[in-house]
Structures are given as C-alpha cells and as structure tokens.
Amino acid sequence: MENMVNVYLFGKKYQVPSSLTIMKAMEYAGYQLVRGCGCRNGFCGACSTIYRIKGDKELKACLACQTKVEDNMYVATLPFFPLVKEVYDIQKISPSEQIMMQLYPEIYACVGCNACTKACTQGLNVMQYIAYAQRGDFESCAEESFDCVMCGVCSSRCPAGISHPQVAELSRRLYGKYIAPETTHLLERVKEIDDGKYKELIETLMNKPISELKELYNNREIEK
C-alpha cells in the first residue's frame, strides 16, 4: 500500500499518496482544476501556492506542479495575484533610469526586507534584481531575473507594493532591444531576402521531382 499523508487543502483534510505533487494531490482529492494550472511543468507560473507545515510558523511559497506534498501540509493556492502592469510603447521609450522612475517609482521605496527573495518559487535573488533596476543597470536585472515565471508570489509579500516580475520584464525587453549588441548578419540576411536573392534558388528546389530532392537531401553537406 502506498504511503499516505495528510494534507489540508484550503483547510480541509485529505489523505493522499506521499509521492504526489500538490497539484496532483488536489486532483486526487477530486478537484477538477481550471485556474491555477497551466503548463504543469514549472514554466508558466499559473500554480503559485502558499503552504505551511503544521507546527511550523513560517509560510512558504512554491509552484504546486513542482512541489511534493508533505505530511500535515496546509495548502492555499494563489492562482491570481493582481500585479501592476504599466503600459508603454517599446518603440518610444529609452533604456534610462528615468523610465523606471516614471513607470515603477515604487521600486525606490524598497525597504530591503528581502521577503521577495525568500518567497521566490524559482530561487531567484529578487531583491538584488530590483536593486539593479533602481540603478538603471538593465543588463544585470535582465540576467538575474531571467528564470522568472512571473507567478507573483514575491509581490504578494512586498510591503512596498512592488510588482517585481513586471519590473524585470521591462528590463529584459529594454536590454534585448536596446542594449544587447546588434546582429549584423541577421539584418543583412533580411535585406538579401527582401531584395529577392533566394527566391529563385528555393523555387528551383520546389520544382524538382521528389526523387531528385531525396538525392540532394541524403547527400547534403553537414556542418561540423
């Protein structure tokens, strides 16, 4: 018989196999999920969850699809958190400190409590990347925040009302568009294609009989 544990889903007690993730434990208990379930594999941030183990004072946060149940676990899912998302025109803004000041001034009210970092379901150094954003160091902010799944748990714990994932998103876009070096070979290829350079070449291929294409395919040169 499988090892069973007690979990409290939204306060109600259920017995579930100890091998299950929180998400599968909810399904095992009979919940047909609609909210709070997206990729089921740690990429989308739909399943943020707060839990506490009986006898322990600390509230912990996790992704329900990535975390195993434990005995005497109290679980409350947080399938939506009202993050503030400011709108902007990526073509018109510029990667300066002012833009953070304008769109997300609350980051300067960070009190340094580090609750965001402690809560991060991805183990990121959230407070650090906010510090980079304050300084207008978008490259470091982008790198530090890269694995963010935007679940919003950090913001739920923030006394300053910062929407960390959105600050990070803005930084990444600024970095990707304006700061990362431009790719000359890409722009040149796009221009060649616009000028029709490969049209004929591909059309010739398209008009060849399959037998000839097979021949070409099977003998094509492969880059080492």
Binding site: P17, S19, L20, T21, K24, E27, Y28, G30, Q32, L33, V34, R35, C37, G38, C39, R40, N41, F43, C44, A46, Q66, T67, K68, K85, V87, I90, A142, F146, M150, E169, R172, R173, L174, Y175, G176, K177, A180, P181, T183, T184, H185, L186, R189, V190, I193, Y198, K199, L201, I202, E203, L205, M206, I210, L213, K214, Y217, N218, R220, I222, E223
Partner: protein
C-alpha cells in the same frame, strides 16, 4: 536520494558497471532498412489498431487515432442550447482563439494593420505550449547558411510531405521573424559582437538553432504577452471557443464562447476568425504521457472540422523519445534532446546500450518502445522505461558540463533528490507534437472555409509528416504574423449576413446518418485527472 524500488536500484548498478566501457564507444547506427523495420513495427504511428476511419466530415474515409476520432466526431456542446446569435456579447473585426505564441503574434500584426482585435483563451495568455519550449528556434541567418538549405533540411526531415508553398514562406520569413522578436526585446543568446549563438538540432545541416538560454519559448512568450498587453488588445481569459459561427453565406463569422468557470455562454461576432489553439498532447493518444500544457486538447481541429475545415496529416504525431519516466511527479515531462547530444546513452535494464542515441526522434522513440516490449525495460511507477545515462556527460565533457549546459534538467530532477551528474535517469517516449492540423493556403486561410485563418500547431502541412526541433517556434511566429496581416487586410472587405449555427446541426445529422450517436462532448477543453493521479 530518490526513493527508487529495489529492482530499479539493482538495474542502476548494472548501468554503472558498464558505464566506463560504454563511454569509449558509440552504438552502431541503424541501416536504412533497419530503421524502416523498427518504425513499422514499433512506432506508434504504425499501430493500425490504434486508428480508425473517419465516417463523416471533410476527411471522411481517412484514418486518425481513436482519441482524435472521438472528438472530431463528438457531440457538439451547443446542440441542446438555446443561443441568441442576434445579440452578440462581443463584436470585433478579428477574433483570435488561443493566446500562445501564434495567437499573440497574430494579434500584434492585426493590430498593426488597424483591425479591432480580441483574443479569447482557455487558460491565461501564455499558459501554452509556447511557454514550455526550451531548445530553440531555427532561422538561416548565418553566412554559411541560406533559406534554400533550410528548405531542404525541413523538407527531408518532414519525409518530403510538406506543402512547398508553406515551407517556402517558413524558411524565407524566418530571419525576419528573428529580427521582429529581437526588435520587441527578446533576449537571444549572442556573442559580444552581436553574432547569434547557434547550434545544431536533430536533422539540421547548418547550425541555425537560436536560443534564449534554455527558456527560449518562455522568453518569446512573455515578450509577446507584454506587447499584447501594452497595446491594450483585450484578452478574455478562462474563456474557450466551443463552436465556430457562420453567416448565411457560409463564411465564418465568430464563435460561441464558454466561460470556463461559470460555464456561461457568450457570443462573439467577428469579420475574421483566427484559430491558434495549439496541440493535442492532453488527448493522451494511445495512453501516452505528454510534454504538453494542460489545455492542449485539439479544440481548434474540432471547431474547424465541424465547420467544414479540411485537415492534413492528422494521423501523424511526434513522440519525443525522452520524456521523464520516473519520478512519477514529472511523468511525461520533456528531457531535452541536448542531453543525448552531450553524450548520454540509452541503456536497458541490463546495462546495455541498445541504440545510437542520436537517430531521428521517430527512430529513437521506436527503439525504446521495442526494447521495453522485449522485456528489457525497467518497471516504473507508471509503466516502464529505460535509462538515459547522464553521468557519461561528465565523463566525456569534464566535470561541470551538466551544470553549465543543461541547468534546467539538473534542477528538474534535483528537486526530487536525483543528481543527474551522478545517477542515470529513467525515460520513456512522451507525446510531444501534433504534426498534422488544419489545411491552409500560403496566406494562412483554411483551404475550405472562407474567413477562417489558422496559425501555429493547429496547422497541418508546414512541416510534412514530421517536424524538426526549432521549426515549430519558428512557424508560430511566421504563420502567426501571416495570419494577423492577412486578417488585418481581409476584414475590410467583409460584410456579414445573419449569423447561424446550422452547420453544427447538419454535422450532427451526418453523424446520425452514419450511424454514430456520440455521447462524448467535444471540444474536450480540459483533461479530467480527478482521482486518477497516474497521468
């Protein structure tokens, strides 16, 4: 340490015992004849008993898997409903169904073209297969490469079955797709001088796989999502399309929507509709686990089929050779191909390598299934599997290679107490990608229904009967943009007549005439895992 069974531990010891010796040698590659034989005998696409012939609809007489037949010939959810089409809840120029990468790209381009756009999506925007892609996206933008070489790679890789005019657009517009994403702020891996870091993927003859670390799809998806929101394009989330609406001329004219939580029914009227509903992994064809997101249930194919949309290659699926077989918590989750390119071999329960690990996906997957059916698999919580000997990577590439090159994999197994640097992992093929889908022409419109455009994994024919890694993220951007631009022009010429759901009634009649009396409601919308913790 993970709680392996004794049998698994015993077998793991055998893998360890043969590791050093195996490291020196590559397993022999299969000959063309041997490949054919293993495919015919063991590839899930060839298991005839898993298929049935469609009795009604545009593809009548063709074979599809039972699970797909069940939904294509299922019972419409609107049949017994009394829906007033004359007072739509929403009216828009362009209605986009599905908010993954294809839908979001289409939305941005249709918005650029001046259309009033609205998106509806089953879960939230970005809760989609796009978000999960790790590997990368292809484009021929290096000097030693060209769109023509890309064409040949993809055409051959798809078993010479792609529609040439679609593939032409895919490869020709690939570099511009990368430029477009970069311009929106997607952080591609680049060298200090701006040169793209590109690698090989299965079946490429040039290194043209662009990546954003091992979060390629996530980085693309969250950027597109941010852009959609910046533009104020309305995204109606937790709302599924459950049927297309037509006008009395037979053009598509909107969709019936269902609020996933309250089950309220809503009517959206639109001059043009774009289907971007993605794949079908959650139908669990032939009982396979899947790497796909929760909402991947082939809904778009069902909606289009009932409205007269022809499908192409709906019989072919991609089974990724390496899905996680243990721990049970991540059963079916993707173990990226990179693990094998870095040197990890596939090893049976006796510690023997049984196949060259970089055969094409279909051949490798079939060989694993064959090995298990010969009794050489290892029993797992959910079935069986074979070992993927990850510690070989550290032996071959030096200590630290795993942490540097496949950190996401290390994290994924590390969470369950499995250190893939020291222990091998158990894998089994997982249902990964829907090769077939709705047949479209080069401007993105369904070949059989006016005013219906399709983009992304819901399309069939771009790749043929198999797809190369990196060409799907590419197709969702290229054909998402094409659909958006085409729809952005088309809506200006459209005048709609009265709305109707008569096509749903006549499809139902066809079903009855064919002796079918389906009880399964479709589209399926979500799988039901309650009290079935296994999958």
């Amino acid at each position: 340490m993970y709680n392996y069974t004794n049998e698994q531990l015993e077998s793991m010891k055998k893998v360890e015992a043969t590791r050093q010796e195996r490291c020196g040698k590559l397993h022999r590659r299969l000959t063309a004849e041997e490949k054919d034989a293993v495919l015919k005998e063991y590839h899930p696409d060839y298991i005839t008993s898993a298929y049935e012939v469609l009795k009604v609809g545009p593809n009548k007489g063709e074979k599809v898997l039972h699970e797909l037949a069940d939904v294509l010939q299922g019972k419409s959810r609107v049949l017994d409903m009394d829906i007033d089409l004359s007072k739509p809840d929403y009216e828009t120029d362009v209605l986009i169904i599905g908010a993954g990468g294809a839908g979001s790209s289409a939305a941005i381009e249709a918005d650029n073209a001046g259309a009033k756009v609205m998106m509806v999506t089953k879960l939230r925007i970005g809760d989609a297969n796009t978000m999960m892609a790790e590997g990368g996206i292809q484009a021929a933008d290096k000097p030693n490469d060209s769109p023509a070489i890309h064409y040949l790679d993809a055409f051959g890789g798809g078993h010479f079955a792609a529609k040439p005019e679609l593939l032409y657009r895919l490869v020709s517009e690939a570099p511009d797709a990368i430029r477009w994403l970069n311009d929106l702020g997607v952080m591609f891996d680049k060298m200090p001088d701006g040169t793209m870091v590109t690698t090989h993927g299965g079946g490429t003859s040039r290194k043209r796989m662009h990546a954003c670390k091992d979060y390629s799809g996530a980085e693309i998806m969250r950027t597109l999502r941010d852009e959609v929101l910046n533009r104020g394009i309305p995204v109606i989330d937790f709302t599924s399309a459950i049927e297309l609406i037509k006008d009395t001329d037979g053009k598509v004219a909107g969709a019936v929507l269902m609020n996933m939580e309250t089950k309220d029914i809503l009517v959206a009227k639109a001059k043009v509709v774009i289907i971007a509903t993605g794949g079908a992994g959650r139908l669990h064809y032939q009982g396979f686990p899947t790497s796909n997101h929760y909402g991947a249930t082939a809904d778009g194919l069902v909606l289009a089929y009932r409205a007269g949309g022809k499908l192409l290659y709906a019989d072919t699926l991609q089974y990724h050779p390496t899905g996680a077989a243990e721990p049970t918590q991540i059963f079916g989750a993707l173990v990226t191909e990179k693990v094998r390119s870095l040197g990890a071999q596939l090893v049976n329960k006796n510690g023997e390598a049984f196949v060259y690990s970089l055969e094409t996906r279909d051949v490798t997957a079939s060989s694993i299934i064959k090995e298990c059916s010969k009794g050489n698999g290892v029993k797992t919580t959910d079935g069986q599997g074979v070992w993927l000997d990850t510690p070989q990577i550290e032996i071959l590439g030096g200590e630290g290679t795993i942490e540097k090159r496949i950190p996401a994999m290390m994290r994924m197994f590390g969470k369950y107490g499995i250190d893939i640097r020291k222990e091998p992992i158990l894998i089994y093929p997982t249902l990964h990608y829907q090769n077939g889908g709705i047949d479209i022409s080069a401007d993105g419109m369904s070949t059989t229904i006016e005013n219906l455009y399709v983009a992304g994994e819901a399309v069939g024919g771009i790749h043929g009967r198999n797809r190369l890694m990196g060409n799907s993220l590419l197709d969702i951007i290229v054909f998402g943009r094409i659909a958006g631009k085409s729809a952005g022009k088309k809506f200006k010429e459209v005048t709609l007549k009265d709305l109707t759901l008569d096509h749903v009634k006549s499809f139902d009649k066809e079903l009855k005439d064919a002796g079918l009396n389906p009880e399964i409601l479709s589209p399926k919308l979500l799988p039901n895992y309650t009290k079935q913790p296994a999958i």
